[in-house]
Amino acid sequence: MRDTNEMELIFDSCSANERFARVAVAAFMTQLNPTVEEVSDVKTAVSEAVTNAIIHGYEQEIHKVSMRCRIEGNLLSVTVKDTGKGIADVKQAMMPMYTSKPEADRSGMGFSFMEAFMDKVEVESAPGHGTSVFMEKRIGKGRSLWTTQSL
């Protein structure tokens, strides 16, 4: 069996697509035989990254968000990219409770959730050029036996 697989989606930055992105990544990762908790973790992290692109990257204007997912062995990686306004100070943006939009009911927990639920989170951003969030998670950690359900 091949142990690598890739997919890429490009969608409009409207809030209805937050759910679409979560469901798509959940469907894509089923081939890794993940636990319910692992799926929830990845869905939450993807939701945060896509929401950031929509609210902060494009400030609610409609442009394109891309999500690239890759499986290599039992490692899942997801890159969410926008070409919006970018982040001047990435370190500050990633601090828990920091938000540039407190008036809009933002909790400032987006990056904290991504870091809590994924093994690795890397952010590349330049003001005026957009932001790219790369996340990685090993699926099936600590599981010594892989069981496959017969259909």
Binding site: S15, T44, T51, D105, R106, S107, G110, F113
Partner: protein, 104 residues
């Protein structure tokens, strides 16, 4: 999403997935009800909720900021394990009580 007002208490029956998309609608409706009915207590009912991200946390914090001014409180009920984890991790449990029912 459904809302119920009893005296000065507002219960919000949250949707299956609480994200930025659904939190926007929640914010608009809840704030109108809070203002019109002088609501002091807001109860977030997670009975039908399977997913929540940090946008849900923002929505809870925002409603808390509103009712706090008149000495109000926010509560969470019917939370499953996942929701409890999200609430605890975010630190929002410092301002919100989680009501745990007795297991029958």
């Amino acid at each position: 999403m459904e809302y119920q007002v009893q005296e000065n208490c507002l219960t919000i029956f949250l949707p299956r997935e609480v994200d930025h998309h659904s939190a926007e609608e929640l914010r608009k409706n809840a704030d109108a009800l809070i203002e019109r009915n002088h609501v002091k207590y807001v109860i977030f009912d997670f009975e039908g909720t399977e997913f929540m991200d940090s946008s849900g946390i923002g929505a809870i914090m925002g409603r808390y900021r509103l009712v706090r001014l008149i000495g109000g409180e926010v509560w969470a009920v019917h939370t499953n394990e996942r929701i409890q984890k999200i609430l605890t991790m975010s630190g929002v449990t410092k301002i919100m009580q989680i009501y745990e029912e007795e297991k029958s």
